[in-house]
Subunit: 230 residues, 2 copies
């Protein structure tokens, strides 16, 4: 059974990716980060998802991206709410965290090398709006080149490492439908940029809006726990 | 004055790179890591070097690579000593830390993006023996491609990021001679894989052997503080 590293944020996408990787016969190790994000409930969700999926090893790495600043997700900047489609698609949002996926994949590469994994799964997506440059297929391909030049595994042992982004071409609705078919319990996942400490979603940030629309498009009940707002 | 991020380990090479970057007119920000290495004196050396060079901002990031294991530099494994040239050139040494330079460059990329730097300096070298796959020019070039696809700076603002490895083609002797010309105080630097808490070198690990040879080849006095051994 081949081993894979699955980047598991605790959100909807990565929970789906874990289910896909397991369906495809991988023994999955999960990797999550506490990176100074304001929505810590995501990491708790990742733990719950990993446990439910029977993941044998789930490593949570503390990395403090606040040391550099530069993102609303790692500072006290207000998360934008109730943006229109036009606003959401106008450039890279302030929730972008500099070099985040590059850093996450670098750690995944170290984990892959040490554990003998040849595949790294990441839940990035280029179809539904995100506006993050490090979610595009060309970024993933470039990082795969780095992975195969950087590691002892690839250079000395001829172990080729691949970066698999199975949601890249799926809409949020398609992702939700696929994950539901695979038995993902989306009630465990937290996508909200502004979730409270128990993981209840605001319902109004970009991530909540896209997620809600995903369930609507899939014709499925939305199991998200929204908090009551004034 | 353009801004650059300089990866500063506290060793001989990165101290030289900092001097080169300053000579070339860059306003340098320094970036170091506490990554669970057993030779913590390197980080203290980095602080001293950055101060001496008048670096205005020196960020030290705590990253715990021990969480994955897999290297003598981040574990209690004995550092190999007094190896012959043949032994040193026979493959990747156990002091290799999985994906280390990929992780370091990823953080440097985040720092560059936030600070507006367009250049990242790294002291890797492909000439003298090191055997690390992530010290080769093709690795550096591949990471540069990632950098220019991953960031908001590159994608939205058209700010191209380059990774500069000015020691890539230099022998250790050439590096030492160049750094001496630029006023680097190598007495401040710590290269030893097994330095004691005050930064005294063992004189026998691969890094000490290569460093000592560098000063010999350059015809310069070796200012390294070696500890007395039984």
């Amino acid at each position: 059974m081949p081993t894979a590293i699955v980047l598991l944020s605790g959100g909807l996408d990565s929970a789906t990716v874990l289910a896909i990787a397991q369906r495809d016969g991988f023994d999955c190790l999960a990797l999550s980060f506490r990176y100074g994000q304001t929505h810590v409930a995501e990491v708790q969700a990742a733990q719950l998802i990993a446990e439910s999926a029977g993941v044998q090893r789930h490593v949570i790495v503390d990395i403090d991206l606040r040391v550099f600043g530069g993102s609303a997700l790692t500072s006290d900047t207000r998360i934008p709410k109730d943006r229109s489609d036009a606003e959401m698609s106008a450039g890279i949002p302030i929730t972008y965290v500099p070099a985040r996926n590059t850093i996450f994949l670098s750690y995944a590469l170290a984990f892959a090398e040490v554990s003998g994994a040849q595949t790294i799964f990441i839940g990035v997506n280029a179809v539904d709006y995100s506006g993050y440059p490090d979610c595009r297929p060309e970024f993933v391909a470039a990082f795969e080149s780095v992975a195969n030049l950087a590691t002892k595994a690839a250079v000395e042992d001829g172990r080729r490492i691949s970066i698999d982004a199975p949601l890249m071409e799926l809409s949020k609705g398609e992702t939700v439908r696929l994950g539901t078919d695979l038995g993902v319990d989306y009630g465990q996942t937290v996508s909200c940029y502004d979730a409270d400490e128990v993981g209840q979603a605001c319902g109004a940030c970009d991530s909540c809006v896209l997620r809600r629309r995903g369930f609507e498009d899939a014709g499925l009940a939305d199991p998200t726990r929204y908090r009551l707002t004034a």
